[in-house]
């Protein structure tokens, strides 16, 4: 039994599933113990986290930058909103997430094909154009897309069996906002498991190889274009799913929700947490979701007026950003992780004295069975 468990853990997909199940338990505990208002925030954290997770795969693992992920979220959100006009959608909400994801995936493929030929600032510029253009589309086609006011989202009634199941598990009635929070976190966990699988697999390795050295990657038989486009597609799909969840949570899809700020927020979350790390993306998203609140509350209790207190948030946010970039350029999670790795290395060196010097390694046979597993970037 123990051995079998160890084998499941060793296969990274099994580990990701177990972690996701653990995450689900935590989500149930948290959602049930906090207020409705906090549940709305939790849902917001989830959709930012989903999109940031997709972006961290693109930027961290494949080295492409995108300032257009907010626009891809908008595409997902509008798709979901269009299907939720009368409160009686033709398919369940999770199906709507899937459809939104596919639409964003289609658009992302087009953008990705163009992006694969661009580098650095040019890629940033091209995706920036996307971020600026997409909200404009909503204004241009005001009749179907609701113009400036946007589309209202009517969520269908919570299905009977969900209410029953929730009552069975928690012993209390499921509210609408906790329902949305559950949905949002379910999508997040599934997305993260899939993204983590990819990044630890052959696909993720190819993305990272292309990021690190194009010529060497090509010589290993990796087509640069294919690797780049596939990374963009995966990332766009995540953004589309995030957009649908956002539509559920905000009950509105309007141009004002998808300004350039959203794209920049996502990028900030990814950089704060640590490029290429899913945990980092979630931590970064959490920081951006809760920091304004915490800071505003702190300001108020320090005797500032409401407006002054609210002005504090962007200031602190900027300071945190500067501090992280200066002091922990690998991001919060990246820095913690490399510190832990250093400590491990130190203790194993002093403990076993196994670090061979340069001369002796030529004949040094590695201990068999001690094949190190990959130190993949995403965990």
């Amino acid at each position: 039994m123990k051995q079998r468990l160890a084998r499941v853990w060793d296969a990274s997909a099994g580990r990701h599933l177990l972690l996701a199940l653990l995450g689900l338990v935590v989500v149930v505990l948290v959602v049930e113990s906090v207020s409705d208002f906090r549940n709305v925030q939790l849902a917001a954290l989830a959709y930012l986290g989903i999109a940031a997770g997709g972006l961290t795969v693109l930027t961290g693992l494949n080295g492409q930058i995108s300032l257009g992920h907010g626009a891809l979220m908008a595409i997902g959100a509008y798709t979901a909103a269009l299907m939720l006009q009368d409160g009686e959608p033709p398919i369940p909400l999770l199906g709507i997430v899937l459809v939104s994801m596919l639409v964003a995936l289609a658009v992302g493929t087009l953008v990705g094909v163009a992006a694969a030929r661009l580098h650095g600032p040019y890629l940033a510029g091209a995706t920036l154009a996307l971020a600026v253009a997409v909200p404009g589309i909503a204004l241009r086609f005001g009749e179907t897309l609701g113009g400036e006011a946007g589309l209202r989202v009517r969520l269908p009634d919570i299905p009977e069996w969900v209410l029953d199941a929730a009552y069975f598990v928690t012993g209390s009635e499921l509210t609408r906002s906790s329902y949305v929070a559950y949905l949002a976190w379910l999508v997040l966990l599934v997305t993260y498991v899939l993204l983590a699988n990819l990044s630890r697999s052959r696909v993720g390795r190819r993305w990272r190889a292309v990021r690190d050295d194009e010529v060497a990657a090509e010589l290993a038989g990796i087509g640069l274009g294919r690797a780049r486009v596939s990374a963009f597609m995966v990332s766009a799909a995540a953004a589309g799913a995030a957009g649908a969840v956002m539509a559920f949570a905000v009950r509105l899809a309007a141009p004002s929700g998808f300004t350039l700020t959203l794209s920049l927020t996502l990028l900030a979350a990814v950089v704060l947490g640590g490029l290429g790390s899913l945990t980092g993306a979630l931590v970064g998203a959490a920081l951006l979701t809760f920091l304004p609140d915490v800071v505003t509350d702190a300001g108020r209790s320090a005797g500032l007026g409401d407006i002054r207190a609210a002005e504090l948030a962007p200031l602190v946010y900027g300071l945190v950003m500067v501090a992280v970039v200066l002091l922990a350029p690998a991001g919060l999670v990246g820095t913690v992780r490399s510190a832990a790795a250093r400590r491990r290395a130190r203790s194993s060196r002093s403990g076993g004295g196994t670090t061979p010097d340069r001369r002796t390694t030529h004949t040094d046979a590695a201990p068999t069975g001690a094949v190190p597993t990959s130190k993949g970037d995403v965990r």
């Binding site: 060497a216 087509g223 596939s230 590695a366 190190p372």
Partner: protein
Amino acid sequence: MDGALELRGITVTYGGLTALSEVSLDVEPGTVHGVIGPNGAGKTTLFNVACGFTAPDSGTLTWEGARLTRLRPHDLAGLGIARTLQGVGLFDRMSVLENVVVGADTRARSGFWSSLLGLPRSSHEERQLREEAMTVLERLGVASYAARTPTSLPYPVRKKVALARALAARPRLLLLDEPASGLAADEMDELGELVRELTGEMAVLLVEHHMDLVMRVCDQITVLDFGRRIAQGPPAVVRDDPAVLAAYLGDAVEGV
């Protein structure tokens, strides 16, 4: 006899400059073929033609009986051809082991969906690739560095990792670009032994200016000077060829 790799009448010009003129050579299966010549003789150009990076103005390139035209860099691996880069060209943010696994990637079969879902087939294959990569690292004596990142390693070790990555693809033709550059004498000896060991396993095309290494490990040698082939044959013959002595080797050979 058909060579594994055949270059016939290769001419490459850059503007008015003729980098290679009517150069032909065969790399027979399972043998080591060296290309030597002074700087500017066209060694690197020849090498780039051999792996399709440079299209010749005239002449043909044949690999295992099929003519190669319009070869893209990422097609090489699928043809069973691996090459090392003159710079080391490792993936700096991946572990040494992962670097080598990338080399073996061309033999992997699992696709996007089985990776996405983490299906047993894909994780089984991953494990297998890791073990194979580890075996190659052991063979080159650098297995103890498997978990490190390349930037933290001394240059000779990095070169070995790069070679391990090329070998992990189990190529039928290995193209080595100046493998001895930056190595100390004893490290070069070791490299020589390794290349010798590869004989019979795969064909090797070696471009190198360290004369004694080439003389020691190669079955056949092509000598270039100013873009022309001035001699070709086994080391013993090339060494005594008057044209080579006159044009290039001079004192170096008398000293050997």
